[in-house]
């Protein structure tokens, strides 16, 4: 499934055009992205939570060469599916 398929499922549902559908899907994704960029968690009930986690710097190793390297502190995006979704996937 791609963005185009999502636009297609929304299109015509409450009398909206294909163009409007594309516009809304784009806007929803944009708002979610901007919120995450600010470090705020996005909670979608029935789907899951997207949150940004801060990771401290740590020492790592290049698995190919064995060379020790510093992994810098960073922020990573994680997704935790909701219990409802987990159950739905396994029913």
């Amino acid at each position: 499934m791609t963005k185009a398929d999502i636009v297609e499922s929304v299109y015509g549902k409450v009398g909206i055009s294909q163009k409007e559908s594309a516009e809304i899907v784009e806007m929803v994704l944009d708002i979610v992205k901007k919120t995450l960029e600010e470090g705020e968690t996005v909670k979608i009930s029935g789907f899951g939570n997207f949150s940004v986690r801060k990771k401290r710097a740590r020492r790592g190793r290049n698995p190919q060469t064995g060379e020790e390297i510093e992994i810098t502190a960073r922020r990573v995006l994680t997704f935790k599916p909701s219990q409802v979704l987990k159950r739905a996937l396994n029913s």
Binding site: T2, I6, V42, I44
Partner: protein, 92 residues
């Protein structure tokens, strides 16, 4: 941010659609994604990320309290991988 806050924000930007209709639309967006995942389909949204279902084999576990062997059935788990663009935007 919750789903209702998200709906509110989108309706404020697209005033030609009522908030009630916008709720229906946003629900369809996530429901269509759930339906795709249920049928085992992978979702890829450019600039955002991808969702993938992985099968985990049945295995034997132990009740940590009693030490009893318990069988854990095979399960489907959902994985999300942030897209390159979003990954970079989040990490500053």
């Amino acid at each position: 941010m919750t789903k209702s806050e998200l709906i509110k924000l989108v309706s404020e930007k697209l005033t030609n659609i009522t908030k009630k209709d916008m709720k229906v639309i946003v629900d369809i967006i996530f429901d269509s994604m759930i339906d795709a995942l249920k049928s085992g389909e992978r979702i890829e949204i450019r600039g955002f990320g991808s969702f993938k279902i992985k099968d985990r084999d049945a295995r034997c576990g132990r009740n940590p309290k009693t030490g009893d062997l318990v069988s854990i059935p095979n399960t489907k788990t959902l994985y999300f991988k942030a897209g390159k663009e979003l990954k970079e935007r989040v990490d500053y």
